[in-house]
Structures are given as structure tokens and as C-alpha cells.
Symmetry: D2
Subunit: 115 residues, 4 copies
């Protein structure tokens, strides 16, 4: 399934069937988002580039599950806060294209304020 | 634009035009994912439910930008690690439906191991 | 033991005996710090005030272990980066006393830029 | 000042003078702890080892402030939750010495469950 709106509907249906909306205030949703992002990051702790490459090859399912968890909370938050995250992302890309013009940003990892 | 694959392509084109792939190892990508998730969370620090509700109403653009940043790194990581995050999410939802059966999980915020 | 310098020495001795300094670059140390802070936070996910109070009373050892893990990385980073964290904290308190004057900040949770 | 109990007292006095205890539930304290840990981590984003070394040399004050912020919340949480974090750390070190015996753990960054 490649339809984000459809996936969001399924997430909300899953939540509502379990009567979990009562726990879903923005703070706890954001907290969950951070915890899942941290679980993604934990996969790469202490590993150097070679070890990461090898690790990724053999652990795609596990890492994918953690990334899916992050996406889960992004979509649920978007729904509950009535924010169109896809639209926000499209706008953000445009904004970044202006903040980081190719001729200035090429090959540098500086923040736009330091370019 | 509601097409995730199309958005991912634009993110990658943006990155490649700036020659930033050289900095994009899994560890730094995951680190960025966590930092952006933390920025989402910061919006709700110290606020009680009423304050959050009011805050969300008047700060949708800012919160949307942070959520978009999280989604940005999810899509970029999915691309670089060759993980289909949408597919992973669909599988995760199915898995959660089994881990949290409605009759056991309804109205409880316990982890599935404590149901 | 209430002597921070002594505790730091034990942490370093523990690390050196295992020959782990080779993995301890600032990025991975900071990453570990974040992961342990996230584990502290996980204890309070989804809980309201009453549930937290009850939970804290019966889980002091577990929460204490996670807080200890955070302190562990703070002290190790301070050591490796040659930063005197206690001194930095003392200076930070002084700075905060100026940034948040009692008459302006009393009873408000705003950032100093919004007071 | 190298006395942790004394520093904790100053932190609490600072807080009480501003009447901020009302905002200090465990969830928001832990959230603050994570946010400050993330700020430590942000210093090392995208940098390789050489860049980090150079960066640390010239940014000790800034990094020290962020580490101090983390320590601040560790001490405040310990106080409010009535957890002796120094004692917990001493116990944790002992526990780790058993979980990671030198002969097994030397030179490896594996989790104790994978040794």
C-alpha cells in the first residue's frame, strides 16, 4: 500500500477500536515519536561505517520496523493535530531549496546560518 | 502532493544537487531523525492539556514543519538503507493488531507484555 | 560515595580495563547519553499525574538505574572532552539566575526570551 | 564547587524562588532531560572524528553548558523522585562490572547479552 491517507485511516481505526484516543495527548504522542526515533538510532550505536553497512544488510526488517514506528506516530500526530504533514514536507523542501542554494551549500554540512 | 515515492525522489534530488550524500551515513541520519523528533516534542514541554490545545491551534505551521523534518529523515533513511518504510508500516500494523487484541487492550495503555 | 571525582575515576577505570576507549568518540558518547535519557522518559509514557506518582513509589530502583546511566555518560563525556561539568553547572545556575529574574519568571514556564 | 548535594540544594532553591515546582511532574522533567541530551548530541552531527576533535577544542564552554543542563535535570529529578542518583550510579558500576567481565568484554562493543 503506497497511499499515505489510507495508511493513516488504518492507524486511526486500530487506535479507535482499542479506545486509546483518551491517552493520545500531543505530549505523549511526541514523547512516543522520540522514543521510536531513539530505537532507530540505537541500531547504529558504537558501530563504524563498515560495521554499519554490514549490519544494515542483515537487519533490514528490524530497522524497518523502527522506522515504521516513527512514521506511525508522524501520521497519527498529523491526524490528531489536523496538520497535513505531506503538504508541510513539500513546503519544507521548497524552503530548504532557498535556505541552501546549491552554489553555497554544495559539499558542506554547515547550517544555513553558517554558509 | 500525496505520493510518497515522488516526495522521496525530490528529497534525494535535493540532496544530490548539494553533494551531501558523503555525510549521510546511517548513524548521522538516525541522529538527525532524533533531533527533529526532539524539536517536535519541545513544543509541548511544560504545557498542560488546555495549554497544548490552545498552542496547537495557533502553531500548526511550526509544528507541521518539525513533523515534516521527521518525515524527511524517515524517507531519506528508507531510501539509503533500501528499506520500504510504507511496506514495513503496513506489516507493523498487522503485527500490532495481533499483539494488542481488542478484547485485551481496550482502554489500557499497558505494553503488550503486561496485558 | 558522594565524591564525583572519585566516581568518575571508577568509571574510567572500568572502561580502560575493558579497552573500550577506542569506541568512545564524542558522537557515540552523546548518542548513548540520549538513549539513556530516553529510557528515563519511557517510564512516564502515557501515565497521568496520579499514575506517575504511584509508579515512582514502586519503581525507584529501576528509574534510579536509568538516571545513573545518564549521569555515567555525563561524567565520562566530561572526562574525555576535558570539561569540568560541575564547574559548568555552577556557572549555568548563575547564568539562569540572571536570565530568569524572580520578579519576571515567578510562576511562569515561558522561555526567557518570552518573559 | 565539587559537592553534588550542595549543587542540588542550589538548584532547588533556584526553582522554589521562581515557584516552578508546579510544572515539575516527572514526565516534563524527563522530557527536559532528553531535550538537553539532544542538544549535547547536536554538537557532533555530521562531523567526522577529526572535525569533532577540532570542534571540541574550540567549543568546550558551549558543550559544557549543555552537559551541565543534563546534569541539572538529573539532580532535580533525583531530588523530586527521592532517588539517590550517586548511590544508584555506584550500584550500577558494580552491576556492570559483573555483566561485563573483563575477559569477555575486552575490546568488544557488544551488549552483555551478545558476549
Amino acid at each position: 500500500m503506497r497511499d499515505i491517507d489510507e495508511l493513516t485511516k488504518r492507524i486511526i481505526a486500530f487506535r479507535n477500536a482499542r479506545d486509546w484516543k483518551q491517552f493520545h495527548n500531543p505530549k505523549d504522542l511526541a514523547l512516543s515519536l522520540v522514543l521510536e526515533a531513539a530505537e532507530v538510532m540505537e541500531h547504529f550505536q558504537w558501530k563504524d561505517k563498515k560495521e554499519m553497512q554490514k549490519y544494515v544488510e542483515t537487519n533490514k526488517t528490524d530497522i524497518g520496523e523502527e522506522l515504521a514506528d516513527v512514521l506511525y506516530w508522524v501520521l497519527l500526530m498529523g491526524n490528531d493535530l489536523e496538520i497535513d504533514v505531506l503538504d508541510a514536507l513539500e513546503k519544507k523542501i521548497k524552503k530548504n531549496e532557498e535556505k541552501y542554494p546549491v552554489e553555497k551549500a554544495k559539499g558542506k554540512h554547515n547550517k544555513y546560518t553558517e554558509l
